[in-house]
Structure formats: structure tokens, C-alpha cells
Amino acid sequence: MTGTTAPIRPAQPSATEIERRLLRNRKYITTIILLVAAGILGLIVAEQIITGWLALGERANISRRDFNILEIAAAIGAALWGILCLYSASGLIRHPSTPSYADYLENRVGRTSAGVLITLAFLFISAVLCLLYAEQIATGWLALGERANVSRRDLNLYEIIAIVFTGIWAITCLRTFWAIWKRDKRSWPWAQWIALLTALVSVAVVFAGTINIRSTLPRSGTVADNLPAAIELVAPGLMLFLAATVVYRYLTLSVGLSADQSVRNQLAKSPSAGAIIGLVTLIVAFSIASSLFLEPRAIAGALSTNVTNGIVAIGITLLMISGEFDLSVGSIFGASALIFLLALTEGVFGLPPMRAIPAAAIALLFAAILGLINGVLLIRTGIPSFIVTLGTLLAYRAITLVALPEGRIIRYADYRLPDPVMEFSPYILITLLVLVAMILLFLAYRQIPHLWGDVLSRIRNFRENESPFRDVQLIARIVWSAIFTIAIVGLIIGCVTGIIDLLGRGSTNIPVNFFDIANGRIASLPVIGPLDASINLRTGVIWWFVLVVIFQFILNHMKYGGYTFAVGGNPGAALAQGISVSRIKITNFIICAVLAGVAGIAFVSRVGSVGPNLGEGLELEVIAASVIGGTLLTGGYGSIFGALLGVLIFGLLRTGLVLVGMDPRIFYGVQGVIIIVAVIINTAVRRART
């Protein structure tokens, strides 16, 4: 059919038609649902606070008389919030084309527009509640009329920290409130941050509440028997979460503002944003759920237990960034622990029993050879690393299975040997200390003037700085510079006093127990003093953190790190630039294996025994920790610091679940959910970057 048909232009839709279409839009519908839910929850919370969380049907209308001021404020705030949310929802239904935040900043709408009103109310209520919370901690949760202004004298450290934090938070909320009132563009990222962090904390509160529901139940009861307690534990957190989400949604509706001010863009600057968010949520949740969680003994225990996982995770992360991974680390870990223990006691490879340092060197060399085999197999055959290292996982396991006499667990204690003691001439130690002090001095000379110069120039140019975060950046720089300076000066002083101390001892050799150095118990800390017997902090934790810092430095500030990223991100392009892809990959396999060996030595130094199955299942745990820390399985992206956070998340999760007395059978379930959630957050954040 020929002939021209003019394209039919649809008739210009009328204003009501546009509104009707908007109303059908999913985004608006979810916003309305959120608002209604937040409103109803707010009213329920207010009512429950006033009636004292009575069970359903228990004379629910009797009001209490022993309120403290926080409860009154919370009730009023929640009620106001509920009404405001329902009002906004009805407004949205009547006029779907609600103006965005950018409209408000450009003076096109007034302050009574629903979204602005909700944001302002959210900030104000948060600030008031925070201030009252701090006040209540300080005065000891008194009911109204009971001399509320008397401050307590028996505050513990955590209470003081809580007061300081809530105080800072309240000031931030009020400052942002003022900026929004003045239509200041800088209020945008600030309000987003506040909404996001409030949402996180409220998720933690809900999590903690859910954990504690069980403890409020009678032995054979179900949740339905004790619904009010369940509501009391979960509803406030849920309300806070909905409130924060509503505000965050409203703030991100506006598109007219510069993208790099959005929270997502700020988060995308760090590969481990998901892990940081997860760790903060976890810590807040468990410290609410169990008063034992923030005790030093629990934290120290979690750190000491995860030294081996943490050290292995460093290597695996480096390897994953270069685009490969190694399933055989568990077997290498077991094998090198065995070689180390045997070298100390019976001797290996036809050598007689030896001292600690040669034994450790042999174990590490052995691990390096196993890593080299992995790498060479991979490069020469081109088989995917999953298959190659699955094979070596099984093959290397045979080492411990075959070598252990009759497959028994061998123990250092069974050989009735004294702990391996190394004797050092004091002059060697003095030379070492002088060397360390010189390196520190050089670092101080290079970095300190630079850091403080930066701080000074920021102070000078404070007025001209357009960034909304100029004050936070300035404070962060000052704090970092101060910590760096104090740490460097402290270390130098430590070196100097050590040298003086050694000089005073004369020339007798100084005995050092190798096990204590590698992974012994730390009896006292420099500033804090002697540790209580229940606190089990091991020197291995120090080595773990030092290794994290070293490898993070290599990755981010040295050529080798850049090559690693390039090889993992785009091997073709790396090759074209003259980087030897295979050499980098093989080196990373070796580093990964050697770190597994280091972990093996740390394990033997603490536990003193090796069984044939040592390290089974380790590989998946550390790969999961790296992935949670933001490292991509496909390579080219990630960070060592993220792996540290990933290991900490797993360790603290187990500690927390045991402390709250939850059935540890669900541990794997929770672990799985955390992996998936963390990866979802990581991907969402990373999308903002690309």
C-alpha cells in the first residue's frame, strides 16, 4: 500500500490526565504505601507508649502516670509524625505531581509543601529525641517530677560515648534543619546522609528487637502469645526505618542537583562501602541485643579467633583482584602448619629438627612452591583457576593425610620440648630498632609537614570552599593528622626507650619465645595497662593488621598493585601495555600461598597441634569474606581493607549470635543472607560510579 499516512499525534493530554497517569506510576504508589504504613505505625507507637505496652484486650485505654520526659516526647513525636504522613499521603493522592526538592531550593514552592514538611519534621523530631536521650542517660532515666536535673556520677565509658554521639547527631540534625529552612543547596547531601544513617540504625534496632523477642517469651510460648512485647521491640525501629526511607525517597526524587553530591556517589568512592554499612549495622544491632557484645573480652576473642582467616583472606583478595582465585588455600594452610610443626619437632625433608626461624622459613618456602605449582599449572594449561585449584585442593590435602603418623593429631606438647626460644644478641636488636626508628623519622619528615600544610590551607580557604562537606573534611583531616603524628612520635619514642633499655642490659643474649611473638597472648597494652585475664588478645592480631596495611599500600600506592588491577580488569589491555600477565598472576598465587603459610604458623603458635583435616572449608569462608568486602569474583576491583571488614563481619556475627543465645544452627543461614545483602549493596553502590 502506497500513499503517505501522516503520523497520528496523540492529543495533548489534559492536566487531569497527566495526574491520573502519575497516580498509576509504581513509584508514586509505593511512596503512598510507605507513607500510610509510616503514619499508622507512628500512631500505634504513640498509643502504646501512653498505655504502657499492654497485651491486647488488657484494658488498653488506661493511661500511665510515670512517664519520663523522653517517653512524652517520643509519644508526641510519633503521633505528629503519624498525622503528617497520613496527611501527605492524602495530599499525594489528590495532587500526584508533588514538587521535587530542587523545586523547593529554587524557590518555586513554599515550606509547607508535603515533602519539605516531612523532611523538616523528621530532622527536628530526631534532634529533639537525641538530645533528650543524651539527657536521660546523664540523669538516669528518671520519671517526670523526680528531680530530673541531678546528673549521675557513675557513667561508664559506653554511656559517655553514647551521650557524645547522640549530642553530635542532634547538632547535625539541627544544622541541616536550619540549612533546609534557608533553602541552602548544601542541605541536600546532608539530609540524605542523615536519612540513610537513620535507616541503617533503625534496621539494626529492628534486628536487635527481633532477636530479643525470643527472650521475652515464656518457655513454650509462641510470638502470638506475646504480641505487645513483640510490637514494643520492633515497632519503634520499624517506624524510624519507614520515616527515614520516606525522607530519603523524597530527597532523591529531585534530579536537578549535582550528582556528585548524592550519597550513592560518595559511597561509590570506596569498594568496601557495603561491608562498612554491614559492619556498622551488625555492631549496633548486637550491642543493643546483648550488653556483653561491646565488652573487650568478646571483641578480643573475635579478633584472635579470626587471625588465620584474616591473613588468608588478604592473599585471596589480592589474587581475586588479578582475576583468579585459589580453592587450595585451606590445604596449603594445613600443609604448611604441618611442615612447620614437624620441622620444629621431628625434622622434615631429611633435615634434623631445627630452630623456629628456619622452621618457619621452610614452611613458607614449601607454601610458596605449592602456590608456584598452582600458578604454573594455570598459566601453562589455560584451564580456569576454579578447576586447577579444585584439583590441587584435593591433591595438597593428601600431604597432611599421608604425612601425619597414622593420621593422628600431632601436638607440640607430646614431644616434651621447651617452647622454641630464639636468643638475640642485644646489638642485633639495637640495630633493628635504629633501622625502624630511621624509617619512622623519614616517614615523619615526608608526611607530617605535608598533612598539616593541607590542614592549614583548608582553614585558610574555608570560606571559598564550595563543598558541602568542607567542615567534615576539615575535622577528618585534623583528626587523621593528629592520630598520624601522635602514632609516629609515640613509635619513635618507643624505639628510643627500647634502645636505651637494651644498651643498659649489657651484652647478654636476650631470649624471645617464638610462639609468643607469632601468636601469644598480649598481657598488657601500652596506654591501657595490664589486660584482665578474661581478655584473650593475641599478637597474631597485630600481624594481621600490619599485613593488611602493607598489602593495602602495595595495592594502592605501588606499581605492582596497579599491574594487579590491570591484569584482573582487562588482561588484553594490560598485555598491550607491556605488563607480563602471567608473571603477575603467578606472583599473586605465590603471595596467596605464602600468606596461607603465615596463617598456618600463627595457628601452630597458638594451638600447638595439627590434625589431618586442618583448614578444611577455609577456602570458601575467606572467598566469601573478600566478596563481602567488595572484591569482584571477575577481578579488577576490590580492596584488602574490605577483606578485613568481611572477616570481621563473619567473626562478630558468630560471637554475637552465641552471646544472644540464638540457636547457632541458623548461623549458616544468617551468613548466607549477609553475603547476598552485602553483594547487593556493593553492586547498587558501584552502579552509581559507572
Partner: protein, 329 residues
């Protein structure tokens, strides 16, 4: 280079075929032959002793015997090993039964062939019901009575010391293992009778991780003063925890199952009251002996043969240590 590697591969192939061939030829003997299928093997000290029992019995009978199992722990792999066992055309088969359904088809085929099958170490949980496997009888420890013995010892020792048990905890290192669950069930039956609360705690086979979990557990539950470990690696974790937390022997009433050098030392130190030995050597030895007696002379005992619970405590631990060194315990 490529040629060389190809040659190498071919050489390896020939070598493999030769080794397997020699093995098969060696196995084709006219004498008796027996096989035992298990869920664990040479990777675990416990099974080494069972295998020694099997080997000693076979040496006495001049029979060919095969231990068919995953080196460490493999439940699902047992189905395949049962096929291998039947392919060896033996005179009788012993098997562990951690999960009857995994090995059901193999056991039924053996019954059709008229081969005697004896369960060792872990009994058929369906025994006596319609779902029972066609198995002659069971040779092994009674896990439940082992748990009962441990719990009774703990209450007796506490009473003798003038203390009382306020709360107990039974630690499980392999989730879903029916034998371990039965040990805990035995403990719980005694605690329920005494009206004392007892709970379960999941730990791992890694001593350092177990020590961390125990440290957290005792921080949250300071009133617990009885603990039941179910194996050597868990006991190693308990020992690490006790040493690092500086807990004196005698304040915590603890027992274990199975044996290891460390468990013996803990008994000598007073950190463990007793351990339950299921006499693994007997399980391997008697299984072969009864397979021989049944296949040749149609003999059978009047019921299951219990190799445990045998109690090891400070009274007999020194004698046991010597026997362990010889591989019998």
C-alpha cells in the same frame, strides 16, 4: 616441548593402568575376601584404629580385605563405594549406616546375592521397623548410653565435691550427624530426669574457632558448669579455652567421647572427668570375624554386639596410653 608433554601424559596413563592392573591381579586370590564400606577413612585417627582391627582379623584369617571410604568424611560417596564393594565379589560386607537411604539399594542387592551384611559403628536407625535394611546385626557402641554414662558421672562427681550442677551444655561439631545427636540425647535424658536445664551449642572441628565460641558462650552463660564434648577436636578446643582463660581444673565438669593423646592428658590433668571409648578396634575386628563365621558356618549372635561405652578415666588412663601407642585403642 609439546611433544615432550604429550609423551609424559601417555607415560603417566600407562603407569596408572599398570598400577591398577597390579592391584586387581593382587586382589584376585582364591581365599576369602571381605569389604567394609564406611563414611570415614584414613584421614581420621578414629578410623585408623578400626582399620587396624580389620587388618589384624584379616591377617588371622588369611583373607583379602578392603576398606572403602572417603578419606575424611563422605556420606553421599557411600553409595558409590557400595557398588565397588559388590563389584569385588566378596564373601561378606560390613557397613556403617549414617543414612540408610544412601546405601539401601546396595544392601538390598547384597541380600539378593545372599551375602551377609553387618552394620558397624553406626546402627541402622530404622532397625526393627518396616524400613529396616536387610542387615544381620550391629557391632558398635550405643551412643545414647554413652551420653547417659557421661551425664551420670558429671552429677556423681559434682555431688562428691559438694557442688551442684546448675546448667549443662552439649556441644555438636558436625550438624545433623545422627550419632552425635544420640550422644546429646543421652545427656539430655539424664538432665531432664534431674530437672536441670541443658542446651546444645554448635561448634566446629577447628580448635581455635571452638575456643572462641566457648569463650563467648561462657560470657553469656556464666551459670553453666557442666560441658559435654563429643570428640577429640572439640576437646582440643575446650583445652585451649581452659588454658587461655586460666580456668582451674575442677571448676567445670567436663567429659568427652572417643580418644586422643590430648584427651588422655586432659584426664590426667583433671580437666576431663572421663571419656567414652567405643573401642573402635573391636568394631573392625569383630565385623570381619562375624562375617567369616556367618559366611562359612551360618553362625550369628543372639543380638547386637556392643563395643561400648567403655569408660576411660584417671583410674585406667595410664594403661590405655600404652595400648594407644600400639594402635589398639
Amino acid at each position: 616441548m609439546r611433544k615432550a608433554s604429550r609423551l609424559l601424559a601417555i607415560a603417566l596413563l600407562i603407569l596408572g593402568v599398570a598400577v591398577i592392573g597390579i592391584g586387581v591381579v593382587g586382589a584376585q586370590d582364591d581365599g576369602l575376601s571381605f569389604a567394609i564400606v564406611s563414611h570415614g577413612g584414613a584421614g581420621n585417627p578414629f578410623w585408623i584404629t578400626v582399620i587396624k582391627g580389620m587388618d589384624d582379623a584379616c591377617a588371622l584369617l588369611d583373607a583379602n580385605c578392603q576398606w572403602l571410604a572417603d578419606d575424611t568424611y563422605g556420606l553421599e560417596a557411600m553409595a558409590g563405594f557400595w557398588d565397588d564393594a559388590l563389584a569385588l565379589n566378596p564373601d561378606g560386607i560390613g557397613t556403617t549406616v549414617p543414612d540408610p537411604d544412601v546405601i539401601r539399594s546396595g544392601v538390598e542387592r547384597a541380600a539378593e546375592l545372599g551375602l551377609p551384611v553387618i552394620a558397624l559403628n553406626t546402627a541402622d536407625p530404622g532397625a526393627g521397623t518396616d524400613a529396616a535394611l536387610p542387615i544381620l546385626f550391629y557391632i558398635g557402641a550405643n551412643e545414647f548410653t554413652g551420653g547417659v554414662s557421661n551425664a551420670q558421672r558429671v552429677f556423681a562427681e559434682a555431688a562428691a565435691a559438694g557442688a551442684s550442677i546448675t546448667k549443662g551444655v552439649c556441644t555438636v561439631q558436625e550438624q545433623g550427624h545422627s550419632g552425635l545427636e544420640a550422644r546429646c540425647a543421652g545427656v539430655e535424658s539424664v538432665f531432664d530426669e534431674m530437672g536441670v536445664p541443658v542446651e546444645r551449642l554448635n561448634i566446629t572441628n577447628d580448635p581455635a574457632e571452638t575456643a572462641g565460641i566457648l569463650s563467648d558462650y561462657f560470657a553469656a552463660n556464666p551459670d553453666t558448669n557442666a560441658i559435654f564434648m563429643l570428640g577429640p577436636a572439640p576437646s582440643s578446643g575446650l583445652n585451649l579455652y581452659l588454658t587461655e582463660a586460666g580456668i582451674e581444673p575442677g571448676t567445670l565438669f567436663a567429659t568427652s567421647h572417643d580418644t586422643s593423646a590430648e584427651i588422655y592428658q586432659m584426664i590426667q590433668d583433671g580437666a576431663l572427668l572421663q571419656t567414652i571409648d567405643q573401642q573402635p578396634y573391636l568394631q573392625g575386628f569383630e565385623t570381619i570375624m562375624w562375617l567369616y563365621l556367618n559366611s562359612q558356618f551360618e553362625m550369628a549372635p543372639g543380638g547386637d554386639i556392643f563395643t561400648g561405652p567403655g569408660v576411660i578415666d584417671s583410674g585406667n588412663v595410664d594403661a590405655i596410653i600404652d595400648l594407644t601407642a600400639a594402635g589398639y585403642r
